[in-house]
Amino acid sequence: MNAFAAVEDRTTVADDPSRVAKRSRPRAHRVWQTVGPPVIFVVMLIVVAALTPAFLGGGGLTIIAASAAPILLVALGQALVLHIGSIDLSNAAIALLGAILLALTLSSIGPVAPLVILAIVTVCGALNGLLVAFAQVPSFALTLGTLGIYSAAALVTSGATTVYVASGGEAVAALYATGIVGIPLTFWLGVVVAVLLWAMLRFTRLGLGMTAVGRNESGAIFSAVRTRWIKVIAFSLSGFTAGLAAITIIAQAGSASPTGLGSDLLLPAIAAAIVGGTSISGGATNPINVVFGALTVALVPIATAALGIDAQAQSLVYGVVIIAVVALTMTRTRGSIVK
């Protein structure tokens, strides 16, 4: 105890102005980190509304939300994987595989089909996670490989053709057809998942562990965090949300095919996660903001059409806007390293 006594005469909490100074900058950052993505989306929406007033009145928000729904669900899983410092290039392919399996099974096994499919895609995600965690391979390369495998699985199970939901798809279709305040349930499903994931990251040990892995995996290992299982869980959740995306695809299209709806979700979903403020180097994710990221990413092509921008220039505009939006919403700390 006298060790304490020995140092009592030292100036306690000495240079405390430091606290104020050190924190003021990050605080401004943090505020923008939280409000940036919604602000960007709303501003863009206002611009579009001002230029084509009829668009919003005609249910523009519904369209944006409907097209954002599958992007959002895939992006949420991606955000979690990015949160632990990895990346999942296969989750969009898993979503498509899920959609095809769902279309194939809905008529035969009926209402349990979605549950069965969710289980299967979660296992697909878990497989990624197990390999990343236990074979210790970089996720970028690994999921590039499993992307090929899952895509082929989608092609083969569908018989390389469009699979239509023969019957029993009414309940799933209702998710798209039914809305709350004009926004389809598929989107609200994404919002609910976002809120749950947000709560998970903020209020649970699992979430804290994920953040720890994302910020400093070595430190997490030495703190007895079960880093490997955490990776498996993150990838499994990525597969799971891809499965939910599959349900929204079926809800919207009533069918699935290897090149149809949902076959190009990978890059938009990554963009959505990053536009939503997710750091590509890990440890910083706000699932709620990913909702706005997905909305923004869905809005851009829709807005180019609504504004009547020349079709030839649309992909150029898309590229420029995505860069600009990320440049605006990104959190930068002075002197930090961007790769």
Partner: protein, 508 residues
């Protein structure tokens, strides 16, 4: 002192980061060929001052003169061009490049081994580097990849790079060494000390260290910083270690001695290691640690003691032998299992392994032992903050802000939190400490040591890999000397009283 033009003269240098005045009006002069020690507590502003001299920070006020001419450094390039070379506190080599490239890193195109158009002439580059290395007595192969080198050798490469710097007129450089020894073992320090001593033939030196004995041995003059100010400037002959300690910390050093006690005859050891081996690391090591006793393991950097300590924590596997905790042999040992069994570990690589810098102090403190601060996997921030605040108060962590990211604290304060992380455990049976005082100033060291003692007194068995032999002798109940992976000697300090010389002899 001499009448020569000082190699560097600072006048009233000041710098603030936001509201923190890190350096508050420092003036000093360094004569050619002088080796000057710079000491001060963690956060006193030493590194910041040196970063100004090396062009990394631009001062808010004050002037710098090099060889009598006023200079303004806009960046590290300018400082290098003016003849200021530096070995930073943090390791700053490119591990994927060769020794020669690292030594010649600052060579401008058109000079030495780098052609005008930016082409490398490897032969010339390697020769130049070998020459520079030879000046400090190193025979490293310039073609070796730095990643394959040991710590001492890397440090030699850093020094070689620093002295490779020349003034415009080809004059002697000012070499700045910011804690070059803190990551080194005792014997390695000996190598380095010898070479630093020789540096006065190459140029002038500013040498930062928290080891006062070292400063006393190497330097001609000692500067003491405190709270951003230079509060003392003494020739080494005129001061004692105790006086330096008082100057730095503002109070007397207090020699604290532990009451050592032998275990009871029938007592069961908390930790028993039987014939533990790992190929290429350590071989057939056996020892026992009893509750409330501290075993210090000493050895050189190749002795295998780090790998051994990691094996105890389940961080590295072992090939043969047994680890018994409270009499039961462990199997399929891993970190999560070790933690569950009441083992704690403070790694040497604090920033990388010891903590998750991006999480707050409170989160770090409760990451491993959530205890009452989480229920059924759900966090309870209120409880967590209360626990953390108690530890902050007990350990005098500064700043006293539990919701600050841990990476924003100074090294000493980080180490207090890292240690507290283990001390919060309800059943800490064994604490393995790998260089717990590395980089800490003497004041912080005392607080940390006090905590270690307290843990011992509460019945925890401690295995300590000390920074210095003195520390091992002061803290330990037992000392195990490791050499080339084998336990070469064992001293029970209750009964014996070996000198540092005895220990060194067994180590080598």
């Amino acid at each position: 002192m001499t009448e020569q033009t000082p190699v560097i003269a600072l006048k009233d240098i000041r710098i603030s980061f936001g509201a923190v005045a890190a350096v508050k009006g420092v003036s000093l002069e360094i004569a050619p060929g002088q080796v000057v020690g710079l000491i001060g507590e963690n956060g006193a502003g030493k590194s910041t001052l040196l970063k100004i001299i090396t062009g990394i920070h631009q001062p808010d006020g004050g002037t710098i003169e090099v060889n009598g001419a006023p200079v303004r450094f806009r960046g590290p390039r300018d400082a290098i061009a003016a003849g200021v070379g530096v070995v930073h506190q943090e390791q700053s080599l490119f591990t994927n490049l060769s020794v020669a490239e690292n030594v010649e890193m600052n060579t401008k195109p058109g000079k030495g081994g780098v052609g005008r158009a930016g082409f490398y002439r490897w032969g010339r580059l390697n020769r130049d580097a070998a020459e520079t290395l030879a000046k400090i007595g190193s025979k490293l192969d310039p073609r070796t990849k730095v990643g394959d080198l040991s710590f001492v050798d890397r440090q030699m490469v850093e020094i070689a790079r620093a002295i490779r710097v020349q003034t415009r007129d080809g004059g002697q450089p000012l070499v700045i060494l910011d804690e070059p020894t803190s990551v080194l073992e005792r014997t390695e320090t000996a190598i380095l000390e010898r070479e630093i001593g020789k540096l006065r033939e190459v140029g002038s030196v500013i040498f930062v260290s928290h080891r006062l004995d070292e400063v006393m041995r190497i330097c001609d003059r000692v500067l003491v910083m405190r709270d951003g100010e230079l509060i003392a400037d003494r020739p080494v002959q005129d001061v004692t270690e105790a006086e330096l300690f008082r100057l730095m910390v503002g109070r007397e050093a207090r020699a604290e001695s532990r009451e050592r006690h032998a275990p009871a005859a029938d007592e069961r050891p908390v930790l028993e290691v039987r014939g533990l081996s790992r190929r290429g690391e350590y071989d057939d090591v056996s020892f026992r640690v009893f509750a409330g006793r501290l075993t210090a393991v000493v050895g050189t950097s190749g002795s295998g003691r780090e790998a051994l300590s990691r094996a105890l924590f389940g961080a590295e596997p072992f090939d043969r032998g047994q680890i018994l905790l409270d009499g039961a042999a462990v199997s399929d040992w891993s970190i999560p299992k070790a933690v569950k069994a009441g083992v704690g570990y403070v790694p040497a690589e604090r920033r990388v392994e010891g903590m998750v810098g991006g999480l707050t102090a409170a989160e770090n403190l409760t990451l491993t032992h959530p205890g009452a601060s989480s229920a059924g996997g759900v966090l309870r921030p209120g409880r967590r903050n209360k626990t953390t605040q108690e530890w902050f108060d007990a350990l005098q962590v500064r700043p006293n802000d539990i919701s600050l990211e841990l990476e924003r604290f100074s090294g000493g304060n980080q180490q207090k939190v890292v240690l507290a992380k283990w001390l919060t455990s309800q059943n800490l049976r064994l604490l393995v400490l790998d260089h717990p005082l590395r980089g800490l100033d003497p004041g912080a060291s005392q607080i940390v040591n006090a905590q270690i003692r307290r843990a011992c007194d509460n019945g925890t068995a401690v295995v300590l890999l000390a920074d210095t032999l003195e520390e091992a002798l002061e803290m330990g109940d037992d000392i195990i000397v490791m050499r080339d992976g084998e336990a070469a000697a064992h001293y029970d300090l209750v009964a014996e009283n070996p000198s540092t010389l005895d220990l060194l002899e067994r180590m080598l």
